[in-house]
Amino acid sequence: MKRATPIALITAGLLGSAPVLASEQELRQEIDNLKQQNQTIMERLNATSEMIESNRSAGGASPVNIGGYGELHYNNLSNNLAGGDDKEMLDFHRFVLFFGYEYTDDIRFFSELEVEHAYSGESKPGAVELEQAYVEFDLNNKTSAKGGLFLVPVGILNETHEPPTFYGVERNPVENKIVPTTWWTSGAELTGRFGQGFSYNLGLHEGLATSAADDFAVRDGRQKSAKATASDLATTARIKYTGMPGLELAATFQHQSDMTQDGTDNAGSANLIEAHAIYTKGAFGLRALYATWDLDGSGPAAIGADEQTGWFIEPSYKLTNKFGVFARHNVWDNQAGNSTDTEFTQTDVGFNYWPHEDVVIKMDYQTQDAPAGENEYDGFNVGIGYQF
């Protein structure tokens, strides 16, 4: 039942019971009392609002940050290799949770824990991986330092790989096989900014540990900070320019003094050079990346792994805010130093549909051209991804 307000009662009194009420002076007194009450109510309402607002303002924001992303993939790929297995599978490829804690305005912790392929354990297809866990210190407005386990500052996807941020159901093969994304290490890194749009990273961290058994492929050398051999560390330096809307230009150089970590005398130091450009103007987008490794030693040279190179170019166009199409041409070769054909190429075309800015549905079609004797997959992929 709706309650009559004091004002309504007064009004009713004025209209219907005027003869009963006392003098005009009493009425004025009553109105003054109501005004006073109204003022008190407003003061209390404002005080309540201010208290609520102060609790959620920057200074009172929760120091705990939680987030995550994930992606489910359906692959329907035919293998052109005689006797090779097709790939028709549903895979919850990644389930990732972020957890961060802000100790002070200048000191924070960040972590990323991932379950790959949904089910891990002995003889199971998946894995539980700690991909980031570091403490970062702001040294001043332009410089910060981190120590712990972090993603190497290289390539486009290695640091930013939430599914709604890139085209293609699967991450591009060039960054996968050459960079090699996702690539995390333990160590220390300094990050700084200068000018209007320049930034740099300088890190000292665990190196790769490849071997002849893995054809010195860089991806197989990731130690993932799991009892990683640290006899020969790696140094990474990146410079990046983002001083113009829609444009990113970046280049990374990395040096490793021993790619095998064990003093194998037929393999030695290695250098990585990676450069990429991203340009977005209105609905049009373009990404291009080039990466190359130079490995010393007779071991890698004997099988052509002394040079491992790849590149891709990816134009895209957003037909609406929620729907974009893309094409990508990828070329990579983990034994580019030999004279035989060991080069892979892959062309993808497809679309992303974002029903929400943090949710994406993807589909693409891929065609591969692989060296003789290697798996060569053609077909389509469908995926759904999210971040929060």
């Binding site: 961060g100 407005n141 220390a188 001083g243 990113e248």
Partner: protein, 173 residues
């Protein structure tokens, strides 16, 4: 041993820099003084309730976290100081609107560890003269910053929200 020396060098290079301080680019009071040339009008309060709240939720893609917001008005010109979280921390932004078009967008306090480029004029100048279309979107493209998607998104949302609030307080009968 040489790596230990390198490690020490990296940290010393940073520690030799200036002492740490917050990223307050301009205090809100200073922003208002600049906007209104030291004649700041009394603040007014807009309660975000009813349809206003529904539309704000549509723009922000989440429920508004404030019950109300202050604004400063002089004729058909309004100034707003709003906050939105980019990835983890709130970004405080000053927005001035004149005749239904954005006059100024300025990042006043930036607390995120990434996306720092949004504070520079080369980015915020894109918002100048933008207005709302019938879908409550900006009528101009805002080119983003790679790796700073969430900060870019936060500023874009706040600009749309300020334009919508401005329309509400200046067009009401």
């Amino acid at each position: 041993m040489k790596f230990t020396i390198q490690l020490v060098f990296i940290f010393c290079a940073g520690l030799l820099s200036l002492p740490a301080s917050g990223e307050v680019h301009q205090k809100p009071e200073a922003f208002l003084q600049q906007v209104f040339e030291n004649q700041i009008p009394d603040p007014e309060m807009l309660w975000i309730t009813g349809e206003l709240r529904d539309t704000a939720e549509q723009i922000l893609q989440h429920k508004p976290t404030s019950l109300r917001t202050r604004y400063w008005q002089s004729d058909q010109r309004t100034a707003w100081i709003l906050e939105e979280i980019g990835k983890e921390q709130p970004i405080t932004v000053g927005i001035v609107i004149s005749d239904d078009r954005i006059e100024t967008v300025k990042v006043l306090i930036f607390r995120e560890s990434r996306g720092w480029e949004v504070k520079y004029p080369f980015f915020t100048n894109q918002f100048k003269q933008a207005k709302l279309d019938s879908e409550l979107e900006l009528n101009t493209d805002i080119d983003g910053i790679t790796g700073a998607t969430l900060s870019v998104r936060a500023l874009t949302k706040l600009s749309r929200l300020a334009l919508y609030f401005h329309q509400h307080v200046t067009h009401k009968s």
